[in-house]
């Protein structure tokens, strides 16, 4: 056993450690149903749920609660996941501006009894770089 071999083995061990540990850290894209199931099984890991926010016919956000003058850090809304299941999501931060404009949102967090508690919200807005409308006056 030469030193280089020992170092080589240590390096390989660390790489395997990184890969294993990363698999433990990764999250998953799931539906609300799966998220609730995971929470019921006592699995505490955070998940990603992709969905659309509930809007009325005019494209306005509906069925939500945000009263900043009472508590600026409490925003609750309804999200419809890809299986068309609707669930209340609570986000303990100010309401993101222009929330209803997002075509699609991803909430990252975990299911808790009746609600889904989101730590982070990613909004996929109409693309920043394209799809600009051409208006001729």
């Amino acid at each position: 056993m030469k030193k280089t071999h020992i170092i080589g083995l240590i390096v390989i061990a660390i790489c395997i450690g990184v890969i294993v540990s990363t698999s433990g850290d990764t999250s998953a894209y799931v539906t609300f149903k799966d998220a609730a199931q995971m929470a019921a099984d006592g699995n505490k890991s955070k998940v990603h749920v992709v969905g659309k926010v509930k809007k009325d016919a005019n494209g306005q956000l509906t069925d939500f609660y945000y009263k900043p003058e009472m508590d600026p850090n409490y925003f609750a809304f309804k999200l419809i996941d890809q299986n068309n299941q609707e669930q209340e999501v609570v986000y303990l931060n100010p309401r993101p501006q222009d929330f209803e404009r997002a075509e699609q949102i991803v909430v990252i967090g975990s299911s808790q009894e009746k609600i889904f508690k989101a730590d982070k919200i990613l909004m996929k807005c109409p693309s920043k770089y394209e799809e600009k409308e051409l208006k001729a006056n």
């Binding site: 990603h48 850090n73 609750a76 303990l92 100010p94 967090g109 109409p126 770089y129």
Partner: protein, 851 residues
């Protein structure tokens, strides 16, 4: 010129592409020619070809820049990236906002570096330039925009495409084929920032520079000069490390100043994608250094220098193929070039693998002796291993979206998502890399300058070690006394970084006496250790000071692990926050030719959003800039929210966090930052009352009163002081016969008094009466002037009230962040000093013809 400009530009693109192919072939021909005369004639021919290629690239740049800066909106690139009201310094940013422009920028830097390489090299010129032009060929193909007839296969995306070709058959063009939009859609406002003018060029210079050591390495393998390539490649590797490093940190600083995720580094895939090649490049620099001094680790140098360039290509693929999708805040959209990018990446991987594997045996050191633990090479090599492991970890997690894509491609459904808490995930690994790098950069340097045995080593290292332990124990005791959280990892990072700083400073002073040119390494290591300090304090001890302690509604379902990071500030009301008191004073705008901010309520906004009228004379520091009624050119994109902050000792300062209310992206908040010597106070707006929601006004109350009367509005004592005739109403032309009357209300508030001035206008000719109500946002009061009764000398007013204005703010203290920026500058200074030294070495050998 207009219609030809795009054609000229496109022609230049095609010429540059064809000539890069020709240049590759002719430099290659010169390389493989045995006959000296042939070699010489080929290389002269190749230089001419490369020169024409350079001119063509400059032509493309000039054409595109003209289209953007002259606002030729018939071109899609100009229309989608610039606009009439954009300040001219941002025209440069428009140039590379799109992918085509950033490829062009990269190509442009490559041309400049290629010209330098031709100038400074003798024997290396042909093979290096052959590899160089091969890469250039791929880059030029990215902006070709040519559709191969019959195959329906597009190569590249041209920046010179006309808007009507891009848009296809929309009605506008059917009515008027020559339609040209009046105005462009403008530059993404987040990019309208000084750092964004200089960050991309620097970063792409770094991208271009990484090609040079790679080209030397390949040329060395090709020509069988396995060891000789190290010397000429070395200064270039140092140059690439400094330009790429500055580019990355400029991006970090831009993010700190402009984005609102609360820091300078978010482990976003786009950031990681350039951080990884930089780590590998720095590792490669260290193995080259080992080789220069001991003829060991040549294989490692070849692999690392190759890997850093291939990783640059991989990062280009990641950020521009759309593969990152939702996982990044700023990945470009897919222009349909992902196939081409992959081809580019795989072509170069294959070329590099062939070169290396064919020559592999020739690179190995024959001596299979044991490396001593007391040799300097051993310690530097351990450092290199740490760099590579750190890079591997970042790369592995960043590539998660790629695994998903790949598995989907072979038909396996995969739903792996990146870690939910990215920062925590990366930090837990990278902090150990930081600790080891700090430690090794001290030990390695001692070994480097002293051939050591065990006894001498301890003598040398004892003083810095004792000093370090003394200072860090003292500080740890201090933090314990002050009840500040410390974790063992933080203690380790702090102690090792301190050890590195002290050791490298002592080494610096020893070397500088003999020859200051040799101090690059010591300076660079001091810089790295300082950066680690800055990162440790500013990230590990950043403190949210806007914790909300009032008016909570507990939701049982949400649990009690509340993050109450944001506070609501009512306009003109003090709010206590940690050791500070804050008051939101009101929204402000910037105007052309005005050094400060203008209160929004002093302006009447017009239909043309870039212009406004002054309601009153506008001054700054006692100097008058605009008179009442002047038309002012304003910058409407940014609204600044003036927040007055008072420290516990009574000192006050003002922050101006800003927000852009942008039709496509919502509220884009950027922080206001106040720099202190020991910390930054960083605050951004997280929410404001929605500007497009109509305010809800209370039912109208009417008052008929005389001057001098007092009424109570919203519990405020409000006095009608007087009613006077005015000759002039901003924004409303009046003729001689017309009459305008203004009422002066005085409202008493706790801290200051306000005035409200509604106006009543009689247009005699038209027989019309009109009114201009006045709103006081501070109080949420609107008064309209309804009627005048000349007989009774009474006036009738309508009063409505609404909710007061507010902002929701998040504020963070970031201790000692300045050390990070200082460390960056020190690191770069060290790298540049080393680069100059190594270049002089190369030039000396070249001039002696002993390359």
């Amino acid at each position: 010129m207009r219609e030809y400009l795009g054609d000229i530009g496109h022609l230049c693109v095609i010429i540059s592409f064809i000539f890069s192919i020709l240049a590759t072939i002719s430099f290659g021909k010169s390389t493989v020619s045995v006959d000296l005369a042939k070699k010489d004639s080929w290389i002269r021919f190749a230089r001419g070809i490369f020169f024409i290629h350079s001119l063509a690239v400059f032509g493309v740049v000039a054409a595109l820049f003209t289209i953007i800066s002259q606002h030729y909106y018939e071109y899609h690139y100009a229309w989608s990236h610039s606009s009439n009201n954009l300040p001219s310094e941002y025209m440069i940013s428009c140039f590379w906002e799109g992918q085509e422009g950033s490829f062009l920028l990269w190509t442009f830097w490559n041309v400049l570096l290629g010209l330098i390489l031709i100038k400074v090299n003798k024997t290396w010129e042909a093979p290096v330039m052959a590899i160089f032009c091969l890469v250039q060929l791929f880059l030029c193909s990215m902006i070709l925009g040519i559709v191969i007839p019959g195959l329906d296969f597009k190569i590249g995306s041209s920046p010179f495409i006309l808007l009507k070709d891009y848009m296809g058959d929309i009605p506008v063009y059917q009515n008027n084929p020559n339609f040209i939009p009046e105005d462009g859609t403008g530059l993404n406002p987040l990019l309208q920032n000084y750092w964004m003018v200089i960050h991309p060029p620097t970063l792409f210079l770094g991208f271009a520079a990484t090609l040079v050591p790679f080209a030397y390495c390949m040329a060395g393998l090709w020509q069988g000069r396995y060891k000789e390539w190290i010397r000429p490649a070395f200064p270039w590797a140092l140059f690439a490390a400094s330009s790429l490093g500055i580019g990355i940190l400029m991006g970090a600083y831009w993010a700190y100043e402009t984005l609102n995720f609360g820091g300078y580094w978010n482990w976003d895939p786009v950031e990681n994608a350039v951080y990884v090649p930089w780590l590998i490049l720095v590792a490669g620099i260290h193995t080259m250094l080992i080789f220069k001094n001991s003829n060991k680790s040549l294989q490692a140098s070849v692999i690392l220098i190759t890997a850093q360039f291939l990783l640059i290509l991989y990062s280009t693929f990641l950020t521009r193929s759309g593969v990152l999708g939702d996982s990044s805040v700023h990945s470009f959209t897919d222009l349909g070039l992902s196939g081409q990018l992959l081809l580019f990446l795989f072509a170069l991987i294959i070329i590099a693998v062939i070169f290396i594997s064919v020559r592999w045996k020739k690179l190995g050191g024959e001596e299979n002796e044991e490396v001593s633990v007391y040799s300097r090479e051993f310690w530097i090599f351990i450092g290199v291993v740490v760099f590579c492991l750190a890079a591997f970890q970042v790369l592995y997690t960043t590539s998660i979206p790629v695994y998903n894509k790949f598995l989907g491609w072979v038909g396996i459904e995969s739903n792996i998502a990146p870690p939910a808490d990215q920062i925590e995930h990366y930090t837990k690994f990278q902090i150990w890399a930081g600790i080891l790098i700090a430690l090794l950069s001290a030990i390695g340097q001692f070994f480097w300058w002293k051939k050591m045995d065990s006894k001498k080593l301890w003598e040398e290292m004892s003083i810095p070690a004792i000093l370090t332990l003394l200072i860090s124990s003292a500080l740890i005791c201090l933090t314990m006394l002050n009840k500040i959280d410390i974790t063992p990892t933080y203690i380790l990072l702090f102690t090792t970084a301190l050890f590195s700083v002290i050791s490298n400073i002592s080494i610096f002073f020893k070397i500088v006496k003999n020859n200051y040119k040799l101090t690059g390494g010591a300076i660079a290591h001091i810089g790295v250790a300082l950066m680690l300090f800055g990162i440790l304090f500013s990230s590990g001890y950043s403190k949210i000071i806007s914790l909300n302690t009032t008016g909570l509604i507990y939701s049982k379902e949400a649990g009690d692990d509340f993050n109450r990071d944001n506070i609501l500030l009512w306009r003109n009301e003090w709010k206590e926050m940690n050791d500070y008191k804050l008051k939101f004073i009101g929204p402000r705008l910037e105007a052309k030719g005005f050094p400060g901010y203008i209160k929004k309520e002093h302006l009447i906004l017009l239909d043309d959003q870039y212009k406004a009228l002054a309601k009153k004379a506008i001054e700054h520091k006692g100097e008058k800039y605009f008179n009442k009624g002047d038309t002012i050119e304003i910058y409407p994109e940014n609204t600044y929210y003036e927040v007055l902050i008072a420290k516990a000792n009574g000192d006050t300062f003002t922050l101006y966090p800003r927000a852009q209310v942008n039709p496509t992206m919502g509220l884009l908040a950027s922080p206001g930052i106040e720099h202190f010597y020991d910390k930054d106070l960083y605050a951004h707006v997280s929410s404001i009352p929605s500007p497009d929601e109509e305010k809800e006004w209370s039912p109208t109350e009417e008052y008929t009163i005389k001057p001098g009367d007092t009424v109570f509005i919203n519990d405020y004592v409000t006095i009608l002081n007087e009613v006077e005739r005015v000759k002039y109403v901003p924004g409303m032309p009046l003729t001689q016969e017309d009459a305008a009357v203004m009422a002066h209300f005085h409202v008493l508030d706790r801290e200051k008094n306000h005035s409200i001035h509604p106006i009543y206008i009689i247009k005699v000719k038209e027989g019309l009466a009109g009114q201009i109500p006045d709103v006081n946002e501070d109080l949420g009061i609107k008064i309209s002037f309804l009627n005048i009764d000349p007989a009774k000398e009474e006036f009738t007013f309508a009063v409505n009230t609404t909710q007061k204005d507010y902002i929701i703010l998040k504020a963070i203290e970031k201790p000692f962040i300045n050390i990070l920026w200082i460390g960056t500058l020190v690191l770069v200074a060290g790298l540049l000093l080393a680069m100059i030294r190594r270049y002089q070495e190369f030039a000396k050998m070249r001039d002696k013809n002993t390359e």
